[in-house]
């Protein structure tokens, strides 16, 4: 990205002494991808700082969450820090199957995705968070477009999630409306929250919204793989999806060449983990308190210096 090395050195005819650092396998920059949500950028920035501390050169490259796999396969891009089990599994499996992309293990964070409602709805719909209460209050959640059904705001259709099927199999008196992006999703939540208006929608964490807004996830019958595969499982004997959404790990993946070119770095990346709580605090600091991503990452590095040194050695 920067106007680097050779050209400027030639232009000025200078060579400057480099500061002494640990020997690493290759000076080529390791390219980490950043996407368009804060948590992932903070996460990647921290990993970048750790690798720098170990002596590697690092470059952060902005790339689309799914499109990046094309770059990871060819070695244009090197490391992706967050592939969510819930949304990225398909693309990740396809990429690792080619042998050019490897899974470097869990990031330590768990992805949760579920129907969520703000705390003030508990008064108006006393049975919550139990899912059975949703039907008693469907009227509360109705809008003129969906009445007499309640309105549930789902995520973008590309996120999947089987909400239409869930509504059907659990007999919920709700209509699923899909937001186009998660920005639209949270815009509606913000609007409803300001007015204390009824809303039930798809929320995921780790994300700043669960830190900023007071509320809870609806409790559906717990997820099991059989629930999705076997119609006879659960309350509805004829249909699948009569349960909660699965939760799952967030994975770290990399171009297969990383392990050959920078084996030490690959080891560090494998070791690196972050918990949901740590992530929540970091994201809240950036998105709610206005701290810069660099400062938040630097703060975390300082507090966890021992842990980081353990990963490096």
């Amino acid at each position: 990205m920067k106007y680097t090395a050779a050209t400027s050195a030639l232009a000025l005819g200078l060579t400057l002494a480099a500061p002494a650092l640990a020997e690493v396998e290759s000076q080529d920059p390791i390219r980490l991808t950043t996407h368009d949500w804060t948590g992932q950028i903070v996460n990647t920035t921290i990993l970048g700082e750790i690798l720098k501390k170990a002596g590697y050169n690092v470059e952060l490259v902005q790339a689309d969450y799914i499109a990046q796999f094309a770059g990871l396969k060819t070695g244009d891009l090197h490391v992706a820090t967050e592939i969510w089990e819930t949304t990225g599994r398909e693309a990740m499996d396809e990429a690792t199957a080619t042998g050019n992309v490897v899974n470097l293990g869990e990031s330590g964070m768990k992805a949760i995705e579920e129907w969520w409602y703000p705390a003030y709805m508990e008064e108006r719909c006393p049975g919550l968070p139990d899912w059975k209460a949703l039907n008693d209050c469907a009227q509360e959640f109705a809008t003129s477009e969906t009445a007499p059904l309640g309105r549930y705001l789902g995520g973008p259709v590309t996120w999947g999630g089987f909400d239409e099927e869930r509504v059907e199999s659990l007999g919920l008196d709700f209509e699923v409306v899909h937001a186009g992006t998660d920005a639209a999703l949270f815009a509606e939540l913000e609007s409803a929250y300001q007015r204390e208006a009824p809303i039930v929608l798809w929320i995921y964490s780790p994300h700043w919204s669960t830190v900023k807004y007071d509320g809870s996830y609806v409790e559906f019958p717990p997820y099991t793989p059989e629930c999705y595969d076997d119609p006879s499982w659960g309350t509805n004997p004829d249909m699948a999806y009569d349960c909660a959404k699965p939760t799952g790990p967030i994975w770290k993946v990399a171009w297969a060449g990383v392990e050959e070119k920078w084996p030490g770095a690959a080891e560090i990346i494998r070791n690196y983990t972050l918990s949901n709580d740590e992530m929540g605090a970091l994201v809240a600091a950036v998105d709610l308190d206005g701290e810069s991503i660099e400062d938040a990452a630097a703060g975390w590095m300082e507090e966890n210096a021992d842990k980081v040194d353990g990963w490096i050695n």
Partner: protein
């Protein structure tokens, strides 16, 4: 007069077509049940062409296997990336990052980027050179705004990509324009290609561009150039064609070679018109800032996106306004250059400083600020403590509107939904595909002759065989309703602006802002007030597509010859009669052109409304983008383009007929 025209025999065709379509749309479901023929309402999936996978496979082949013998196709595109990246890195280092030596932790800064004072001074000098001190003050103030509101670093990254994309777009467009001018077959071949470049939504080709040119700013630059170049090609062709014959003759008599003729005679005489093209390229490049940032361009676009993702409405508006301000400065300077008179050239004998006073001044300022910056950090970069922010104000304003007016807005929305949107949606989505194909072709043929009818048949057929009929109809419904309302608001505004100089100024400023303000900025407030749904999408489309309706209406009214109005006055017309009987009929061709542009902008906005949550072709394109599916994206993108092309051809044909009726040609 209008009523009489509606019951003429010629109008019968339209009434019959409408009645048949309405009947089929209303009873298509019953027909399907009665004949037990599901194909009536759903295009059978067995007949669908696997065009998506053909395109995806072709893309894969290009990426993995295509080769020219000595090097592969991919190496070629990567080479192109490298060629673009070198100057980009240089400009970016000069404006934003500074010159570094070494990599990563070893990097040492050799020289800082240009200081904010130097950049502002250079922009002001550009304004002075282009016209006068007033323009210099304006451009200087615009860039000062960027510094004061804390947008400097991002703005410089955006400026760096503008400074690379614009010359490539201009030069490429000029060369293609020259080729079209020299060889008519090039022009014929290019025309449909340019149409597609302008109508296929950018989202549709982001994925292939990423695959071919790699991840990062270069891919974003390539996509920007594809989007911003077509007007330059068109303008260059027209500009060269309209160089006066005498000038060409003079060149011939002076014994010019073909090359001299082009570069010393034709292009200099066409320069003012060419600058209009340059201006267009700059504006379109700035339109792309947000989308480009989705694939790694960074800068102001990224700030807008990330602000909106964390619902920081104020932050989004500030970054969005920074784009507007930058657009204003660059627009005014480039417009001034297009009307600039050649300045007096000092003799060759005086020294360099005398010959190029402004260049020398700029150089002196750069040198001075560089040296001063070494000792005084605020000279190098604008002190963070002195930046202003209006973020909290926007936040509070939005909350106030939301809490106090939500219910009123909800009621208005319900009226629109039940009386307009839902009935229109039912009408369009009910039309069986087979009849739709016939009806579109008949209508197009009736308007523009059998060639146009055939074109409409083929293009609509493409949409149908790809199984996109239902989504296309939702697209048509959303565009139709939005255009109707945008036109109903825009034309009266334009007429008012056309008759009143003061109104013209205010309305002009208003629509300029609407057009350059990235639509993402108002998408989120619109969703907050109107929820996810078609209505929000419609509001966003209207806001964006309003501008041409206003502009062309105002232009049409203003360009009526005063004698016509005087004639009306003399024969004792009232003001109302002058407007309805003289001004409006004479402005009709202009109004139709405005309609055409309104439709085009509405269609180009559709893809962005998919971010709110619509179920149309825009959503199809967006899904393809998020799944990195090249084939799906291109097919859906072409379908959008084809709808636009059919609409464009039909409205243009109507405009041509109306001009002929008025004897304007």
């Amino acid at each position: 007069m209008i009523w009489r025209r509606l019951i003429r025999p010629g109008a019968l065709f339209w009434w019959a077509l409408l009645a048949a379509t309405w009947a089929l749309s209303t009873w298509s479901f019953q027909l399907y049940k009665a004949f037990d023929a599901r194909w009536i309402i759903r295009f059978p999936s067995g007949w669908k062409l696997p065009m998506e996978s053909w395109i995806s496979d072709a893309m894969k082949w290009l990426l993995e296997d295509a080769t020219f013998g000595l090097f592969t196709f991919r190496e070629l595109t990567r080479f192109v990336s490298a060629v673009i990246e070198a100057p980009y890195d240089l400009v970016r280092a000069a404006l934003a990052d500074g010159f570094m030596q070494g990599q990563g932790s070893y990097a040492v800064e050799i020289a800082p980027p240009l200081s904010w004072i130097a950049v502002i001074a250079i922009m002001a000098i550009l304004g002075r050179v282009a016209r006068d001190w007033r323009l210099a003050a304006l451009t200087g103030a615009c860039f000062l705004y960027l510094a004061v509101f804390g947008q400097w670093d991002s703005a410089m990254v955006t400026l760096a990509s503008v400074m690379i994309a614009v010359p490539i777009g201009v030069l490429g467009g000029l060369l293609l324009g020259i080729a079209s001018f020299r060889w008519p077959w090039v022009e014929r071949a290019l025309r449909p290609l340019l149409d597609l470049m302008q109508t296929v939504p950018v989202f549709a080709y982001l994925v292939p561009v990423l695959f071919l040119f790699g991840f990062g700013p270069v891919a974003a630059l390539v996509a920007t150039v594809v989007y911003a170049m077509p007007p330059m090609v068109r303008v260059a062709t027209v500009a060269l064609q309209s160089v006066p014959e005498e000038v060409v003759e003079a060149g011939k008599m002076a014994g010019c070679t073909r090359r001299q003729m082009m570069w010393k005679v034709l292009i200099p005489s066409a320069a003012p018109t060419l600058m209009v093209g340059v201006n267009q390229v700059i504006m379109l490049t700035l339109n792309m800032v947000i989308i480009a940032s989705m694939i790694g361009a960074g800068g102001l676009g990224f700030d807008v996106l990330s602000a909106l993702r964390r619902l920081d409405i104020g932050g989004g508006i500030e970054a969005g306004l920074a784009i507007v301000v930058m657009a204003i400065a660059l627009d005014r300077v480039s417009q001034a250059f297009s009307t600039r008179l050649p300045s007096k050239v000092a003799g060759q004998d005086v020294n360099f400083v005398r010959r190029h006073p402004w260049f020398a001044t700029a150089f002196a300022i750069i040198a001075l600020t560089y040296i001063a910056g070494l000792f005084l950090p605020p000279v190098q970069s604008y002190p963070e403590a002195a930046t202003l922010t209006t973020s909290a104000f926007w936040e509070d304003a939005m909350r106030w509107i939301n809490v106090n007016f939500y219910d009123t807005l909800e009621a208005i929305k319900d009226v629109f939904l039940t009386t307009l949107l839902l009935p229109v949606k039912r009408f369009f989505t009910g039309i069986p595909w087979a009849w739709g194909l016939i009806a579109v072709s008949l209508a197009a043929g009736r308007i523009g002759g059998w060639r146009l009818g055939l074109l409409a048949l083929l293009l609509t057929g493409f949409i149908i065989v790809n199984g996109l009929w239902a989504k296309a109809m939702i697209t048509v419904y959303l565009v139709g309703v939005s255009v109707l309302i945008a036109y109903a608001i825009g034309v009266p505004l334009g007429i008012w602006a056309g008759q009143n100089a003061r109104a013209h100024k205010w309305v002009g400023a208003f629509i300029d802002t609407l057009q350059t303000l990235p639509s993402f900025v108002y998408l989120i407030p619109v969703v907050m007030l109107f929820r996810v749904g078609d209505f929000s999408a419609m509001i966003a489309v209207i806001l964006y597509a309003l501008a041409p309706a206003v502009r062309y209406a105002a232009h049409g009214i203003r360009s009526i010859e005063p004698q016509m109005i005087e004639a009306g006055l003399v024969s004792g017309c009232t003001r109302r009669q002058i407007l309805w009987r003289i001004k409006l009929p004479l402005a009709a061709p202009s109004l139709l052109l405005g309609l055409n542009q309104t439709i085009m902008l509405a269609i180009s906005m559709l893809v962005i409304t998919a971010l709110v949550g619509t179920r149309d072709l825009g959503q199809e394109v967006y899904i393809a983008l998020t799944k990195a599916n090249t084939g799906q994206g291109i097919v859906a993108g072409l379908s959008v383009a084809f709808i636009a092309i059919i609409a464009d051809r039909c409205v243009s044909a109507m405009a041509r007929q109306s001009r002929e009726r008025l004897g304007l040609q």
